[in-house]
């Protein structure tokens, strides 16, 4: 009898888990996709990784201990997953090889970039996207996601004062860059 109950509870919690993931996708999938994109800067890769992140959430849901909000927990998984990807063999060997082509000067790309840079909004976005990852991450979470510093600290496992410094430093880097362009 207890075995039957156990079996039913498992089934129930499986369905519940599926439902939770479904809700998380409705609520956060676009924001997460944007977060992932700021790390990897490629739409298809960002979509693949976001997909993996939700599957990971499903697998780890049992470990969610309610000590933080579910949003913080999901974002933490997402940040770690992106960083794992950027550290991975695949990314370092294959993606970077492809990137070498970006450094070979090409007239058409150059012209294109100039046209884009004329647009003020584009140049701000580009400047943010070109910040080193630790600054980009902090800027995105604070100004795009509008997360409080304490939450950013939880999501990224970085000390709150370090986050403050990074935001300040990012602002300086960006001002330098934008002034140069003017």
């Amino acid at each position: 009898m207890s075995e039957l109950r156990h079996f039913l509870v498992t089934i129930e919690s499986l369905e519940e888990k599926e439902l939770i993931i479904d809700q998380l996708m409705q609520e956060y999938s676009d924001d997460l996709l944007h977060l992932v994109y700021t790390y990897v800067k490629n739409r298809t890769t960002a979509e693949d990784l976001t997909q993996e992140i939700f599957i990971k959430c499903y697998e780890k849901l049992g470990q969610f201990s309610q000590r933080s909000s579910i949003k913080t927990w999901v974002y933490r998984i997402a940040c770690n997953h992106c960083k794992d990807y950027l550290r991975s063999w695949h990314y370092r060997k294959i993606t970077l090889n492809e990137k070498i082509f970006d450094y070979i000067p090409s007239k058409s790309i150059h012209v294109e970039e100039e046209i884009i840079a004329k647009n003020e909004e584009e140049s701000l976005t580009q400047a943010v996207m070109n910040l080193p990852i630790k600054y980009r991450e902090a800027v995105f979470l604070h100004y795009y996601e509008e997360m409080p510093l304490a939450e950013i600290s939880k999501v990224t496992s970085v000390n709150i004062n370090t986050i403050k410094t990074r935001l300040k430093r990012a602002k300086e880097l960006l001002k330098d860059k934008l002034i140069k362009e003017d």
Binding site: M25, E47, E59, V128, L174
Partner: protein, 144 residues
């Protein structure tokens, strides 16, 4: 100069993130993957011949996962070829159902048929000659 980030949210939405949404196809792919994982937890999604072959490898002695995998391969049970991880999913499932028990010896996990497991393996052999009930059925019944 005021804070360049003040308007960042709107600006990014208009530029890099324009039309960047997690599509319904992507959401469905996640749901499908999750359902796939769930069905592995259900004995019915495994081929009967695979389960039998696995139980047979343990009939004489306890073995670790690697041993079982090699033996299955020798028996031409190719279900886990290039997909060895699945074997452990099935082993855990059978352990949860009380068909197998396991023990750690020298950092290896050895699996053994429990009395229940032996009973069902034997019952299957008898039944299969009569072609009556399936082993799966018996196991499912036993776990209820």
């Amino acid at each position: 100069m005021d804070n360049p980030f003040n308007n960042l949210k709107n600006v990014m939405k208009k530029t890099v993130f324009k039309d960047l949404t997690f599509s319904n196809e992507r959401k469905d792919a996640v749901k499908e993957a999750i359902q796939g994982k769930q069905s592995q937890l259900n004995l019915h999604s495994w081929k009967e011949s695979t389960i039998i072959a696995l139980l047979e490898t343990l009939q004489l002695e306890s073995r670790d996962g690697y041993d079982i995998s090699t033996l299955l391969f020798q028996k031409h049970e190719l279900c886990f070829q290039n997909n060895e991880g699945q074997l452990y999913t099935l082993l855990h499932l059978l352990e949860n159902k009380g068909i197998l028990s396991s023990k750690w010896i020298n950092e290896k996990k050895y699996y053994t048929l429990t009395t229940k497991g032996k009973k069902y393996a034997a019952a299957y052999k008898q039944e299969s000659t009569k072609q009556l009930t399936s082993l799966k059925h018996l196991i499912e019944e036993a776990s209820l």
